[in-house]
Amino acid sequence: MKRFLSLLLVLVMMTSLLAACGSKAPEPTTPVAEKPTDTPAPTDKPAETTPQVLLWNVGADPKTIDPTLNGASDGGDVINQTFESLTREKSGIVYPGIAESWDVSEDGLTVTFHLRESNWSDGSPLTAHDFVYSWKRGMDPAAASEYSWIWEYTNVVGAADAAFGEGSLDDVGITALDDYTLEVKLNNPTDYILSLLSFYHFMPVKQSAVEAKADGAWAKDPALAVSNGPFVLTSYRIGQGLTLEKNPEYWNAANVMLDKIDAVFIDEASTAYQAYQSGELQFIPQVPTAEIPRLIAEDPEFYVFPLLGTYYYNFNLNLDLWADVRVRKAINMAIDRELITDTLGAGQVPAAGFVPPGLLDDKGNDFFETAGTYGLATDGSKIAEAQALLAEAGFPGGAGFPAFTIMYNTSEAHQMVAEIIQEMLKTNLGLNASLENQEWAVFQDTRKVGDYELARGGWLTDFMDPSGLLSVFTTGNAYNDPKFSNAEYDRLLSLSAQTRGDEHFDALYAAQDILMTELPIVPIYHYSDFMLVSDVVVGWDRSVLGTVDFSGVSIVK
């Protein structure tokens, strides 16, 4: 009965959430890898006669499943099964994909990939020229790929200019030396490029297939879709689902156990959860929010992963209201982040910095661990200090500090966090905050033009380097909503982009020191990701950035 009530509650919440449907940040993903030797061999392989079928809920009907044009996590999850890039990343480890091996020049500015001889699903050979075509298509403004800005972070010579329409595609540093050798020239040494290139945007597409039906429509048409990954598309039903079948032409097909993936598009978490419980689905990416704490505690089939991102509040630094850093620090100290993550109860990690756990520095230490908490606390242990700071700033017990508004986009979860923070600021500091929510797209606009006092923000990175997060707060960055501007911070970020190893990470540590001293934001928690996977599904994996990988899956019954 309790569960039923919570199911009902979730539904009630859902209807109030309708306006916030599209609020999910694009979660970039990096494909996951597979290495022949690593594939877990199922001990009791079923008889040849039982086809191996995975019943999977993708979530929403993806906007596109053309790798180059995609910019969303649901599309990325499908694409990672149908395509494969030079590398595959699985649980943070980069494995060879279509590239058998690669050499990085001494100065780190040239990366040469040696491709294996492999085929497209139509049996034609896949060569280095296909990569050149696909990548240039990705940065070509005429193709209008939403994700083409990612080229800026690859540091590939001329790529960002081409993507932003300021340079020619002919000047891009990507060359097919022969059919199976691909040379990539970089502006700066970029250690994370190997994991970055496993991301869906960099997967190859076949020119003749792409040109068969415009704007990525070819990828959803089983008659036209040509791919190079473990599976091929055999049916696509708008709003309903899709079917993938094993690709016999995949170079590592011998280690692909599944015959078929039956995928559905159910974006209503409670329905998918019900279907999972009655065995109609085996792998679901969403569960009703109210069920999460119980699932974490009781269900061994429920998996929680950290996500490389941070949930935070922006101070609008254009306002005199926040001019005093002591006020910003007092607010940062007065918030009990553990209480918030406990209330949300979905495995989020309290944040006292901006860089989330899971990113390693040059010495192999976790950046998050090494960075520490900057004198903040994840619990309520600094409240007395916060009160003293606020008094020092001239507002003892909050007296004299003007009331302000906390702004967020309409959503039950955002509202819950805002209410907790409102209460903490009132109780701990005597500050009066009111709450205001706006429809998702309106809110994006409000925040961008700086028409707010304190507003929620969230950022998920696309590649495994802290600069993917810290660069948000460089002067003029499109997501720098606090309008933070610090010359030294900008210098350190640009230094980090030009350096490798300890120099690179020292610059990033120093940058986060500045960020956490100046505090243009209130970090609250680091995101988590979860999924519910039946125990008959073995050998599945995911990338650190959150894309699922079924290349090694088998069904054990």
Binding site: I238, F265, I266
Partner: protein, 308 residues
């Protein structure tokens, strides 16, 4: 008669064009656009996206381009499903929504009207109280609660129907019931009150005084007249039900068109918003026309376009 219909058709087209214009103006006046993202798309990329989809043209140019497409039934590309046109979305979604909607409409008519009549004839008897209690429940309990209850008990606890989709015939049960609830109750209540009203009329008394059989009084004279307000409601109701319901389709994971009404607004998917609005408006207008025609059959006094 013919000139009446011609007038109706012309005024319908004008209405649709007005609705399209109004929708176009309203949706372009709210903040955000089809490429609004939590993570903002860089200005240069946004420019090439807008250029590709002709969103960089002045608004009046976009308006005339859209209207040009509309008169040739080309509803344009969907921004939230690139490579798919709004026509494709309708072709894929409408038959599914319509199938469920048709079943629900039939159920509403064949259950709602008789129940309302019986209730009126047995006014203030236990059966009337029971029907009115159920009808009040049906009108007040929202469809998402009904849908959740159905999934919880019949799919979850009992396992009689699938939890989602329409792959088996049993899959239709949940969506149809959830879709029926409100309108069925409303039709029953409307029929009952309309019946009660008619039964008090002089001509019913006259019919009875003339010694007509009770069956004939009710069936021939009362019901027919009582149906006028019911038909007025049912016409537009069919347009609404056949074009899908966001809540029912979302909860039962039905691949219909109902979800696009809400999703397209959130996504600022301009072409889909327009397509859905215009499609629904056209359907609605046609149904209203049918209702007007039906009046003539029910009550010859209001036969359309008849010269006095």
């Amino acid at each position: 008669m013919g000139s009446y219909y011609l007038k109706r058709v012309i005024s319908s087209i004008v209405t649709i064009l007005l609705i399209a214009t109004l929708t176009f103006t309203m949706m372009h006046s709210i903040p955000g656009g089809p490429f609004t993202r939590e993570r903002p798309v860089p200005a240069e990329i946004l420019r090439s996206l807008n250029e590709k989809y002709n969103l960089d043209a002045p608004l009046y140019v976009q308006y005339f381009d859209y209207m040009k497409g509309l008169v040739t039934f080309d509803l344009g590309p969907s921004y939230s499903k690139i490579g798919t046109s709004v026509n494709d979305l309708l072709v894929a979604g409408f038959p599914t929504s319509a199938k469920i909607g048709l079943m629900a409409s039939v159920l509403i008519i064949i259950l709602g009207i008789p129940v309302g009549i019986i209730s009126a004839l047995k006014q203030n008897k236990p059966i009337d109280y029971f029907v009115m209690f159920m009808a009040t429940l049906g009108v007040t309990v929202p469809s998402f609660v009904v849908a959740t209850l159905i999934i919880y008990f019949f799919a979850g606890k009992l396992g009689w129907i699938p939890s989602f989709g329409l792959t088996s015939p049993l899959g239709y049960i949940g969506p149809v019931i959830a879709l029926t609830g409100y309108s069925l109750s409303f039709v029953a209540r409307l029929t009952r009150s309309s019946m009660l009203e008619v039964l008090r009329q002089d001509y019913i008394r006259t019919a009875r005084a003339n010694g007509l059989k009770e069956f004939s009084v009710i069936g021939k004279h009362a019901v027919k007249n009582a149906l006028i307000p019911v038909v007025t409601y049912i016409g537009p109701m069919i347009a609404a039900i056949l074009t899908g319901s966001f809540v029912v389709e979302k909860i039962f994971a039905v691949p219909g068109m109902g979800r696009y009404y809400v999703e397209s607004v959130t996504n600022r998917d301009y072409t889909t918003i327009m397509g859905m609005t215009v499609f629904y408006a056209a359907f609605y207008i046609v149904m209203v026309l049918f209702v007007d025609i039906a009046y003539g059959f029910i009550d010859p006094r209001i036969r359309l376009g008849k010269e006095k």
